[in-house]
Symmetry: C2
């Protein structure tokens, strides 16, 4: 490692983002993108804003913040907007977690969490999952520094109920519980309603998946004004303007077109359930994912081999070389046509063809 | 301060961004925005990209990174792209500065630097300026942790020469020197050429001012591959995708339309010099700014009073309530028409009208 880097830059192991391969006619099922385009309102709104680019954007998300408040039926002071949920969570780790207090996260979880913990020297304990990857809510009780977990969990897709979340929040009095609802639009219940009652609960949502806007980098958090203030203090000590004007306008438009996204999410849920059934028929063990991806393993073929074989056929899925999940693949739910091809090729690989 | 915040979030004093007031017919000379619109190529390019928003953007800036390399006549591996130079500098503090080694910055400087230092617990020493705010290069020699300064300096607008910068770099062997060239397009000489020779020099540029893209949040750094790697390691431990697709496309288009921006920068320089002369005739002391703003003080009226009087007339300028510069105002160079009005109203205020 080179000599000009700080100790931190030298020691840290950065997160590895899902690959964006440049393969022609690729079927891209590796980064949980939405297979349908964003609402046409998004493009209109972006075009309307483009003439003002010489000016600085609003520091707080502007129209995006207002639209998110309306969407979630809360007040603007309950909303914090950021450049994707990764940035939001990076701020949250610094805003709410302390270097001398261990937080709790799940044993199998979004793999960026330990990276942020390392970045800011925040100790953490791993809460064990059940054998089938389901979550025991009690494993997240009584943290001594805060809790963070995705719901549904990533990369398993398995969700806990709102009442489980309430129990987790109640059993972490004095510490913040962050629920990362990146994938909650595809069948899990959002716990936003609980933020009215519990000032130590922060819900994080992104428009990358549900609103087909991975390319625009828009996320928001819902929580008590105290928590929102904490996020603002950190943002304003880091970068006053993380959300550009076009992102603010596009995100606001997306949140307003509820009918369009209700339709695309429903299509994705239907495709997921059909794919689940077909995969089980092929002998796969499939978790009960309520997300826009499936988490699968097969008794007769190693996950890594299957991934490589699929890639040779132009189908890209994600494999995590990590404890407990090294023999699983995460497969994004694409269109019906894409999943039919994925199933056909998978069947052929299993049949040795 | 509320109990859920980390010690850091409680203790820090965030940066205060320039106000974006909602006043009708305002003449906005407070945040150094470019008075001319961005190149028409920017809007075309953004429209061309908007159809792909469901996909994740490139993690490294993509076409923006390539365009910046071409623009600076360096290789892609010498370029790092970020969401505005504030984000870039926030990454740089973490990538190159250590909590046990004091860095050097100027006594009067961009007021975000001390905020990042505080955020990451980086000690710093202030290098004194000459009485007329000019910089003594030797004051930045022999740091024990690195150096950061803007060239031209903010908010004075005064620049040092490339050979001064070379001396500063040579006299900080083993430590990084970061030159923040946010305003270098308006008459100062860029030191990018030195990055070929010195592996400890990082030059940071933004498209917010020179390319009229404050609303799009695009900046880049030029430096040795070792330094670029350091920035990448921190970015990938924080947020893999800080630059959305539209920003990448728009920034690339802007850097390509050199003729357009040569023209707008020249107009701004002309307006600045004319305004300088007129202000001096009104009795102002005006620094030798080579930026797109003027830094002024008057023996007969307090800066704060002048700022308030101008605001009543719909003209907004920036005042910094800080040591050494509390009686100065920073005035963005707008169009000729805007500056004529600014001069007219200023003259009226001075005449007690």
């Amino acid at each position: 490692m080179n000599k000009y880097l700080s100790k931190k830059a030298r020691s840290i192991t950065p997160y590895t983002a899902g690959e964006q391969p440049e393969i022609k006619n690729i079927i891209k099922l590796n980064t949980n993108e939405n297979p349908y385009p964003p609402s046409p309102e998004v493009l209109k709104s972006i075009q309307g804003e483009a003439g003002k680019l010489r000016l600085y954007p609003k520091t707080d998300g502007g129209v995006f913040r207002k639209a998110a408040a309306e969407y979630e039926n809360v007040e603007v002071k309950n909303i914090f907007c950021a450049n994707g949920s990764d940035e939001l969570l990076a701020f949250a780790f610094l805003a709410f977690f302390d270097p001398d207090k261990a937080i709790k996260m799940l044993q199998v979880t979004y793999s960026f969490y330990p990276v942020w913990a390392e970045l800011y020297n925040i100790p953490y304990a791993l809460a064990p999952l059940n054998k089938d990857f389901s979550i025991d809510p009690a494993s997240l009780y009584n943290s001594k520094g805060g809790v963070i977990f995705p719901n549904p969990n990533a990369p398993t897709g398995i969700a806990v109920s709102v009442s489980d979340i309430e129990d987790i929040v109640k059993n972490n009095t004095g510490y913040i519980v962050i629920v990362d609802e990146a994938y909650s639009a595809f069948g899990a219940k959002t716990a936003v309603i609980l933020t009215e009652k519990y000032e130590n609960l922060l819900i994080v949502k992104t428009l990358s998946k549900s609103h087909a806007l991975a390319g625009l980098r828009c996320a928001y958090a819902v929580g008590s004004p105290d928590l929102i203030e904490g996020l603002e203090r950190i943002k304003d000590s880091f970068n006053s303007y993380p959300l550009d004007m076009l992102a603010q306008a596009g995100a606001a438009a997306a949140l307003t077109d509820k009918a369009y996204y209700a339709q695309t999410s429903e299509k994705i849920i239907n495709t997921r359930e059909n794919t689940k059934t077909a995969l089980k028929a092929l002998g796969f063990d499939v978790t009960d994912s309520v997300s826009n991806f499936l988490f699968i393993t097969h008794p007769k073929i190693a996950a890594k081999i299957l991934m490589q074989s699929l890639r040779e056929k132009g189908i890209v899925v994600r494999h995590f070389d990590k404890p407990m999940i090294g023999n699983h693949l995460r497969v994004t739910v694409g269109t019906d046509e894409q999943m039919d091809l994925f199933l056909k090729e998978t069947a052929a690989i299993l049949a040795g063809r």
